[in-house]
Subunit: 104 residues, 2 copies
DNA sequence: GACTCACATAAGTCTATGCTTATGTATTGG
DNA sequence: CCAATACATAAGCATAGACTTATGTGAGTC
């Protein structure tokens, strides 16, 4: 698991959508396919990428594999972003100001 | 500029390194090449990707082009991450606990 | 005005990646 | 125990992406 892997994993729109679905709650690979027009191997490969990036965790239960969000990946991402914190408070303030102005 | 573009832009190690150098301070394309073993067009293309992702901003000055971190991109990333905030406070607490244990 | 410098853009190549179909491997139900 | 289910893995293909060399463009220099 590294930052590169995390960014690469999230660079794919399908994987980002899968991750978002997992954020709603634990699901197995078959449930995750619902709504997507993807072959079963494609989903399996996407999950492998997310897993090796530390973004999701798996738990085998019989012949099902339950996937859930792994906070480790998000923590890594959060830590990376935090290095550049100096750049966004200013921006946040600007947004706050903008919202204040829009309210009037 | 979209989340996909941002993640894609940051998925490349070279672009992440370029971004990190820009975080240290505004630089032009030639200065950015120092230390990298990249052709000039390669750097130019990387900067184009970072620019279209909203991660850096350019400012032309004579025949030089000065690049700097654009907070907009980081703000987008921060906003994306914030959607999953529910997952990381728990993790942060775990890390704090771990650090506390390591101190002893 | 020719020349150089600091870039951007074009075109071509090679590798990475996302997809497919085909197959392998546990697990479970009849 | 045999078929079906729920996956993972393999192999092949087609597109995307990162790089190169070559060329274009506009701004400073002499």
């Amino acid at each position: 698991m590294s930052e590169v892997d995390i960014f690469k994993a999230l660079a794919d729109p399908t994987r980002r959508a899968v991750f978002e679905r997992l954020a709603d709650g634990e699901k197995n690979a078959t449930e995750l396919r619902e709504g997507f027009s993807l072959s079963q191997p494609a989903m399996s490969q996407h999950l492998a990428v997310l897993r090796s990036a530390g973004l999701v965790a798996e738990q085998k239960s019989g012949r099902h594999v339950h996937y859930r969000v792994n906070p480790d990946g998000l923590a890594q991402l959060h830590q990376w972003l935090h290095r550049y914190r100096a750049f966004w408070p200013q921006r946040v303030d600007e947004l706050k100001q903008l919202l204040k102005e829009m309210d009037q």
